[in-house]
Symmetry: C2
Amino acid sequence: MTPDATLIEVGPRDGFQPIGPLIDTAIKIDYIRRLHDAGIRRVEATAFVSDRAVPQLSDAIKVLAAAKALPGLDVQVLVPSQRYCQKAIEAGAENIAFVLSASEKHNMNNVRRTPQDSVEEYRRLVADLPNETSLRLNLATAFDCPFDGSVAASEVVALLDQLVAIRPDAEIALCDTTGRATPGEVSALFAQVMARFTSGPSWVFHGHDTYGLGVANILAAFSVGVRNFDASFAGLGGCPFAPGATGNVATEDVVWTFDRMGVSTGIDLNRLLDVAEDGVCIPGASSGGRVRAALRGEACVPALSA
Amino acid sequence: MTPDATLIEVGPRDGFQPIGPLIDTAIKIDYIRRLHDAGIRRVEATAFVSDRAVPQLSDAIKVLAAAKALPGLDVQVLVPSQRYCQKAIEAGAENIAFVLSASEKHNMNNVRRTPQDSVEEYRRLVADLPNETSLRLNLATAFDCPFDGSVAASEVVALLDQLVAIRPDAEIALCDTTGRATPGEVSALFAQVMARFTSGPSWVFHGHDTYGLGVANILAAFSVGVRNFDASFAGLGGCPFAPGATGNVATEDVVWTFDRMGVSTGIDLNRLLDVAEDGVCIPGASSGGRVRAALRGEACVPALSA
């Protein structure tokens, strides 16, 4: 049965990436397996990026291969460039997520290019992409930039005019990178772009819970017809621009809320909570979310040590 | 200037009440003074209840007197019965909040009466109330009960039919005691009762952030015209039905969100954050909210001890 809303679990990439101590590859793979057991059918499993810049994801080839082996799991990997896209495809990636930022300063900071240079990079990436490869665009800072503040909808639309023309059927995620978008801004921007680009793209909202609006913004996107949402189990991820704050919206908070609303996600909350409870205890992890504490208590019980 | 939305700070009552170690009366009064300095103009300062049941609030007479001395501060106190209402009035209370629950089990648990017995108690309370005393009704479990689950809107409306007839101009707070109401439920119930009772009551939403929907539910109530919202600085309060979980929605999260939306509250976020940072450190306190960590970091720096 097709769920009413699809959650794309980004914990293994967005959640693990900022964790300092390296997580064993086998442990990462086990988390993905358990998330799949809980009903997750889309995952951002890893990223193909510079090992030096992101040592935590230097095992991308192994993680991707293991994730692909799970039945019915749609596995996407993040890439910042055409070069890393090729590496991902050589490693067997069938679903590529390319990231660029709407705001110039964030894009420079994130991938050391202007947004316009990223558009040209995207053009090259698409030109070389095998026909059977699925493509998704992650448009970061689509609402607000940590350096420049609010991003005008007109800038986002102007960028999308170019990007959609390059590959009309790519999925597009509008990302609230800072967590400072309000529900009204989220629903307004989605309503605008969904009315403008009717010829192909499906839409995703990627929100952060940094200021407590993670689920509120997902519901705002849902209210105008968005049906795909990124989320991270245990709210793993943190926020590089607000140390100590929480990051991605917690998958379990979204599942709980949709369950209450009668919106099916295909995900078993109890199984997901089991995974989230362990995720909180990953050494170095920054976690978030509310539902876990409400239903299971706050305790982080570390594994027994001899 | 009248603010676009009024926040009623309930931390000194709802937030302090479950804290075990007694907070010095002078410290409580200083918190109320600092909240007033930050722009708070309505506060639930304390409750008149059994000292044995709630020792933390046994200094109600002193706290009320000090709060009333602050210029322009509307001070309400909570009472569970006509008898405690009289005590509050003798102590100088000018704004009484009477609490009853829509669900039978919660009302029995909270005030040891059936909801219908509480309606009769309310009738007696109103009959004895001085003309100049303001009155507010806190209708707990208006959406969901910790013991019985979802509460039907029809039950709430039937109860309100009786309560509004007793005192048509009393302010009415619909309380999401468990935090399990969804935004759709909140906006639907308020829309229904605001259309039904047009002759007097002003409306308040009292929400909890236990499952992460605290601010989302406030925005849902705001969207249908509610303009008064309870909140607790630092998210103080916890949840008796979910140990380890957070309680009342944090005042600073609500102020931050309304600021982003251009909705004025008259409250200075930075001053409020100063108070909230200290509130987190009250020994025994259970805190919540997101904005404090996002803007100030998570650190709780305890007072120096000798």
